[in-house]
Amino acid sequence: MAPKSRTKTRISWFCQEEANDQGRQHDQGSLLTDKMETSTQCYVIKANRNWLRFDWREIWRYRDLLFLLVRRDFVSKYKQTILGPLWFVIQPIIMTLVFTLVFNRLANLPTDNVPPMLFYFCGLLAWNYFSQSFVGIGSTFTGHAHLFSKVYFPRMIIPLSYLLSGLITFTIQLVCFAIIYVYLKIFSGSGNTFGITIGVLLFPLVFLQLSFLSIGVGLWFTSLTAKYRDLVHVLQFLTQVWLYATPVIYPISKIPASWHWLVSFNPMVSIVESFRIMLLGAGTLNAQIILPSIVVTLTVLTTGILIFNRVQRTFIDTV
């Protein structure tokens, strides 16, 4: 027992975390150790540490890395391409044209009386951001195994960098959407069938939910692939199926109301529909769809962070 108590006292001046473990009864002491934490960094490496702990301050310290990774992502994707960043808008425009041709003209799916171009583009705005972030974040472990095996930095930086890259793409596509919107509003005969609604004030909230969902699902996925490699093959396939389960190419009004309770568990349903209501004033939404969507999103996010945090600690042993 004697040697143990010796080390304890030694640790208490050494590190804040240990002081906390001993109990927080002495407040003055913790003030002192707090100061120490800011002046010099101190790490305690321990077996089986509490996996609910999450060090957000550390992510802040690594913010430069976050931005440099986003930059790397951006630059490397478009270096040595002729059209460069134009690819950001070419992809959704072509998708929109294909959707218009196939689903509107050939399959005669309605678009809530909104010009099909805008209808599909609006859905794709939300969807592209989601799928790009999801696929990126979903490959955090498998795609960075080498990096993770060679150097430490908060692993959460990688998912966050994908989210930020997605944000850039989203912004560019949003501008493109605005241009088409203005053009159709002025020059087409159907200019009065759509318009931004006051709901657009809630746009930041809906966008936040979309980001939470992307990162939550992505973290779940990458944590599972770290252990079960089979899931790598599921990723592409899953996003495709998910696209069809989401009202991107059809309006929610096509779904019978008696089924709404079921689709509401797919948070993308209310998000995509919210986008259309806010930006185009067309769509159907009610609390029955929105509430489960928010609950599912927050659950996926918190559990996703927890499981990611658990897996990242020893991921490298399984590579």
């Binding site: 960094q41 490496i45 321990k46 540490r49 430069d64 890395l65 440099l68 399984t318 590579v319």
Partner: protein, 409 residues
């Protein structure tokens, strides 16, 4: 400063990471509380612990600020595992470690380099990955470029770099890290030798000048010897020896030789043992400034019929340094068990590891031949090696330099 207490790390044998689903379910089953009969459970526990492999077992040490610690040991001894735990790449299974100060680890140079980015962009990215802030890289940028010698190409994508330039830039960034604690793996094993030495020198300089704590893993015993103030020897995950470099390296060689063994014959005309000793007949595995070193061949001779003994000492690059034959100076090797002894001029050998290859033969037959009769290490004292450089010559010229006035006109 670093405190390590009872650090252990275990891996599971077999297909790592791929726990079977069945196992997974039975785990969950157990956790929920549906236990099988106790006896069965115990047996299962036993099976599970049998499948564990301890890469690191109960390692403890304390390192004060400014110390340079070398880690040596064979492959798989646990050096890299220890470094990975300390640099927080993976977590220990048991025990803990406390590190006070900013930690940077250098397990590889050029981690995260992207071929499409320019040297400048990669310098910033790599610096950030290693834990520097953007401002820090900016402050050091000119120094980094100068050190890396890639000057005019700094705004060229690194995929157009020669491999030498690539490594130099990567090294230069790493060499300009300013952590309180630096963990270095065998990164210095790549790149051209001259530049490696420059980096080694820089690391030594940094720690001596600014009181950095460094943990350094290397197979290059001479750089360990010249850089480190203290050495830990690991074997099969356990800490064997924690002492000054000379003693630890000596111990390392004792163990290495014991394990490798010499392919000795048990009958006929043969070598029994080959070793170095000093003039007091003390056996040596590490030669460090001994004045007179003797090489001993303990042999058994059954027929003396023009029998000859020859040997060559090779350095670690497999270049032969000394060769000699017994009959060069003897008339014959008599029958019986005895020791042939000759002085070995080890004072001219640069630091490094050496092995002895030799044979016993007569005009009709080779009786015994082995390319690993013995091995030894040399730590040489000379002004080049103290700074971490390796002399280009195979041997050192131990000469008296004189100074002579020159009269002009």
């Amino acid at each position: 400063m670093i405190e390590v207490e009872g650090l252990s790390k275990s891996y599971r044998f077999g297909q790592i990471g791929a726990k079977t689903l069945q196992e997974e379910f039975s785990n969950i089953w157990r956790r929920i509380g549906f236990r099988n009969s106790d006896g069965l459970d115990q047996e299962e526990e036993k099976n599970r612990s049998n499948k564990l492999f301890w890469a690191l077992r109960d390692v403890s040490f304390t390192l004060e600020q400014g110390e340079i610690l070398g880690l040596i040991g064979k492959n798989g001894a646990g050096k890299s595992t220890l470094l990975k735990i300390l640099s927080r790449i993976t977590e220990p299974t048991q025990g803990e470690a406390r590190l006070l100060g900013r930690v940077s680890s250098l397990l590889e140079v050029g981690t995260g380099f992207h071929p499409d980015l320019t040297g400048r962009e990669n310098a910033y990215l790599n610096g950030a990955i290693l834990g520097m802030t953007k401002d820090e890289v900016s402050r050091k940028f000119d120094e980094i470029v100068e050190f890396s010698e890639v000057g005019p190409f700094i705004d060229t994508p690194v995929k157009r770099y020669s491999s030498g330039m690539y490594v130099r830039l990567a090294f230069a960034i790493a060499a300009h890290l300013e952590p309180d604690i630096l963990l270095v793996d065998e990164v210095l094993a790549v790149g051209d030798i001259a530049f490696q030495k420059k980096c080694l020198g820089k690391i030594g300089e940094i720690s001596r000048g600014e009181g950095r704590t460094i943990i350094f893993v290397s197979h290059n015993l001479s750089s360990i010897k010249s850089l480190c103030s203290r050495v830990l020897l690991l074997d099969e995950g356990k800490l064997i020896c924690d002492s000054d470099p000379t003693k630890a390296i000596q111990e390392y060689h004792n163990r290495l030789l014991k394990k490798e063994g010499v392919d000795l014959k048990t009958e006929g005309t043969r070598f029994e043992e080959v070793y170095l000793c000093d003039e007091n007949n003390e056996r040596l595995q590490l030669v460090h400034g001994e004045k007179r070193v003797l090489l001993n061949f303990e042999i058994v001779v059954e027929k003396s019929n023009s029998l000859n003994l020859g040997f060559t000492v090779f350095n670690d690059e497999d270049i032969g340094i000394f060769s000699s034959c017994a009959l060069d100076s003897m008339n014959e090797i008599p029958v019986g068990r005895h020791t042939l002894q000759l002085p070995l001029p080890t004072e001219i050998l640069p630091s490094g590891s050496y092995r002895v290859e030799g044979a016993l033969w007569d005009p009709y037959k080779v009786h015994h031949q082995s390319d690993h009769l013995s091995a030894f290490n040399v730590v040489a004292e000379n002004t080049l090696e103290i700074k971490g450089f390796k002399p280009k010559g195979l041997v050192l010229l131990r000469a008296d330099w004189r100074h002579k006035e020159r009269t002009s006109g």
